[in-house]
């Protein structure tokens, strides 16, 4: 079960984008603590600053002011090497557009982060096959991405995200390009893995199917946190949202 340790801590974060001569404040002072092992959904309309916050947590972008801590390390203090290491070992990414490297097979895609982490080829291949079996693609590891369906590609991406046993999995609209049933399968898979491996899953989404499995939902509006709901409170509000949809 999730322990009480905070794996991600966001404190007083603001982000200002310079768009030509106009300054846009995407985030206006966000505070957020995410406990290890939880399944978090960040919800919000587009333009709410959801993606910006998400990128900050993933170490892909640096805040204009304020601090982001991952595993008690301030990511603004890290140099390029340490950031690359963080992305490689601590965080697994899942994208809306799958982003499987097209010229490599499923297995090569999964082993790549392990090679970056310094694992030798044989053990990387062995672990890669295990991971692909775990996500239900045990018989397809020699396939090219173009020979896989969207759902299967996303499964490869999930396996790749797990490659170095990260503490956090960041999923950016993981079901955005999938149909309803496939999307649900991916969500169930993520939830299962998060429980089994005690991985913190953070996903930016506006897919309401996500809410059912989330331990916590963070609602963002106009660059601020609107409300944070835990699982218990959630069941009530899900009903109303469901009917609205």
């Amino acid at each position: 079960m999730p322990d009480s340790r905070d794996i991600v801590r966001v404190s007083q974060v603001t982000k200002i984008f310079q768009l030509g001569k106009v300054q846009v404040q995407a985030l206006q002072g966000v505070n957020l603590e995410i406990a290890a092992g939880n399944y978090i959904s960040i919800m919000g309309p587009s333009g709410s600053g959801k993606s910006t916050l998400f990128n900050m947590i993933g170490g892909l972008d640096k805040p204009t002011s304020g601090k982001v801590f991952i595993d008690d390390v301030d990511i603004a203090q890290l140099d390029a090497y340490e950031l690359a290491w963080l992305r490689c070992r601590k965080i697994g990414y899942i994208f809306q557009t799958f982003n499987i490297i097209q010229v490599m097979t499923a297995l090569e895609n999964v082993t790549l982060p392990m090679i970056f982490a310094g694992m030798n080829n044989d053990s990387a291949v062995e672990k890669g096959i295990q991971l692909l079996e775990l996500v239900g693609l045990g018989d397809r590891f020699r396939h090219k991405p173009s020979e896989l369906s969207g759902g299967q590609q996303q499964r490869v991406a999930v396996a790749r995200a797990l490659a170095n046993d990260p503490a956090i999995i960041l999923a950016d609209e993981p079901t955005g390009n999938l149909d309803l049933t496939t999307g649900e399968e991916i969500i169930t898979l993520l939830k299962k893995l998060s429980k089994e491996r005690n991985v913190t899953v953070i996903s930016a989404t506006h897919d309401f199917k996500m809410l059912n499995v989330s331990d916590q939902v963070v609602w963002i509006r106009d660059g601020r946190i609107d409300k944070i709901e835990d699982r218990e409170e959630l069941s009530i509000s899900v009903g109303t949202i469901g009917t609205k949809q």
């Binding site: 340490e82 690359a84 992305r87 994208f95 982003n99 490297i101 010229v103 970056f116 310094g118 005690n198």
Partner: protein
């Protein structure tokens, strides 16, 4: 829970070597595969190089042929050469490429480099998402740079070699038709070999020079690009 404890344990020594790796062998393998999979794309990138090196090799082997004929000191060969367009003064015993020729070669090589830069920039743009994804997986700038340089290096050697051999062959065939079989017999093969080697070397250097800027653009790309949905 067991797993969690072991993870805690190795974070302590991770602080010592927080490094990401890409062995050279692996990067070479990735580059070769990338060329193989995108064969048509790589061929277009290499084509301008092949043509420019073809021209360079043709000119320098033709000069070798003319030198072979001149070295016999036979006045009739001298007449043949002058008739076929070589500017030879009576006191010349060897032939250098003329300034005019050199200018044309330099121009063609320049055009070729610009062509390579253009084609490689396109290739980088096409692969933005792939590069961004690799960076999200922990690739350093220099991994990306190395991949592109290796790819261009392999393309450069292969393309330049093909161009140089083709240019030399064409020049020899040309000599056969213009001067007859003896012209090839009088030829110094060491000179031809050196000309081919030189042309291949020039092609390799040009290919690397052409990929430099696009590769730096690719290496500096931010990983966030991988997240972008459009393209």
């Amino acid at each position: 829970m067991d797993k969690h404890i072991s993870k805690e344990a190795d974070t302590s020594h991770d602080t010592v070597d927080r490094l990401v790796f890409l062995p050279f062998k692996k990067s070479l393998e990735m580059s070769l595969k990338s060329i193989q999979v995108r064969f048509f794309r790589s061929m277009i990138t290499t084509m301008s190089l092949v043509l420019a090196i073809f021209f360079l090799s043709f000119v320098s082997v033709s000069t070798d042929v003319a030198n072979g004929l001149l070295a016999t000191k036979d006045p009739s060969f001298r007449q043949v050469l002058i008739r076929s367009g070589y500017d030879i003064l009576p006191e010349d015993t060897t032939l250098e490429s003329s300034p005019k020729q050199r200018w044309i070669i330099i121009l063609s090589l320049l055009v070729c480099v610009v062509g390579i830069i253009n084609a490689q920039l396109m290739a980088v743009t096409e692969r933005f998402r792939e590069i961004g994804t690799m960076k999200c997986l922990g690739a350093l700038n220099r991994f990306i740079l190395r991949l592109f340089l290796l790819e261009a290096g392999v393309q450069g050697i292969a393309g330049a070699f093909i161009g140089a051999i083709a240019g030399a062959l064409f020049s020899l065939i040309n000599a056969l038709f213009n001067f007859g079989t003896f012209a090839v017999g009088l030829l110094s093969w060491t000179d031809v070999f050196l000309s081919i080697l030189f042309a291949t070397g020039v092609g390799f250097v040009l290919s690397l020079a052409g990929v430099m800027y696009p590769a730096i653009v690719a290496a500096r790309m931010q990983p966030v690009e991988a997240m972008r949905v459009e393209h």
